[in-house]
Symmetry: C2
Subunit: 209 residues, 2 copies
């Protein structure tokens, strides 16, 4: 069975800015609305606390109040934590927004290490529940075929990434990942959200550091 | 004579965020580095004062210190003022960075109105000099041929915009404008810088308000 996903499906991808670990600061979380892997249609912003408990609620509120909401078909996250260990409960995020969620992990997350870190924080049970609610971690293969990478001697390369999905099946999630991955090995909404969030908090992003 | 400009020429486009007029606040100015009209490569940020005198200096410093500098071929601005009447002197900006500048104006600027407004502020002579240094305002024609606009019944449309250029000839400036205008009637680096700066300051951008 072939499912057609529109190449310009609207995806809202989030990433957090830089912050001082263990501080009591708030950290901007930037969301960019992308048409598939093609171009930016708009952006949103909220702020969450370093190692806080407010990320799920803040992002739910942001999504439910944006004028883009009706067009949004998928939310993408780069891992399920922002601002340190402020864990996003993607099951709740899906239930409260009605929008499917795809979480991308560049590497297989080390759950033992996450568990140990969370044990040093308050509200362990609730944070751990959010980790469990994210569900099974699966693999996807992306084609990194961007001409911009030819500078560094790379033309086309296949690469394995990891994902979790709530509110859509794995086949559809893989198709959306494939469609939206156009200029690196992570989907464009996350690549761009990262570059923006970093520039906003550090003054600069991209290029070779 | 045909001059070939690389379709992925790196352009740094700036726009300012929202602000309270006549306040003593600072306003973020976001710069996005684009490959032609295609995709984002990085971003930069600085802050300038509402109706202040610091925009030229701040933007010079930002450009001269970014690790992207060597790759940058053009700087684009959306008008020559940011944060109200903080005027960017593009002649200075070009001289101090060595990079050509293109200023885009959606409409023909009303210079009489600008002059009257500047007369209400301190440092009139210096601000006015920056206006004069921006040089002659010329026309360019762009093709608005984005499929995203088919929602609103538009397929292809030609539109007139206005520009000023320092450090490159008009033919080259028009070619760069044409290459970089891919999803609306203004060049993509400016369209995206605007959407990001607005989201950062207002929490949301894009879509239909």
């Amino acid at each position: 069975m072939i499912r057609r996903i529109k190449p310009e499906i609207r995806i809202l991808g989030f990433d957090d800015g830089a912050f001082v670990p263990k501080s009591k600061n708030s950290v901007p979380v930037i969301g960019v609305i992308f048409r598939g892997g093609k171009f930016l249609d708009g952006a949103v912003k909220t702020d969450v606390m370093v190692d806080g408990m407010d990320a799920t609620e803040k992002i739910v509120k942001l999504i439910n109040s944006t004028r883009h909401k009706q067009q949004l078909k998928v939310i993408m996250l780069d891992g399920i934590t922002v601002a340190g260990f402020n864990v996003i409960d993607i099951k709740q995020l899906h239930e409260k927004t009605g929008i499917p969620i795809i979480v991308i992990n560049r590497k297989m997350p080390d759950i033992k290490k996450v568990e140990a870190a969370l044990k040093n924080l308050d509200n362990f049970a609730e944070r751990w529940q959010a980790i469990e609610n994210a569900g099974e971690i699966k693999q996807a293969v992306v084609n990194m075929s961007d001409r911009s990478m030819s500078d560094v001697g790379v033309d086309v390369e296949q690469r394995k990434i990891y994902f979790q999905a709530v509110g859509l099946d794995d086949m559809k999630a893989r198709e959306i990942i494939r469609i939206s991955t156009t200029h690196s090995y992570i989907p464009e909404p996350l690549r761009v959200a990262h570059l923006i969030a970093e520039a906003v908090t550090k003054g600069e992003s991209g290029g070779r550091a």
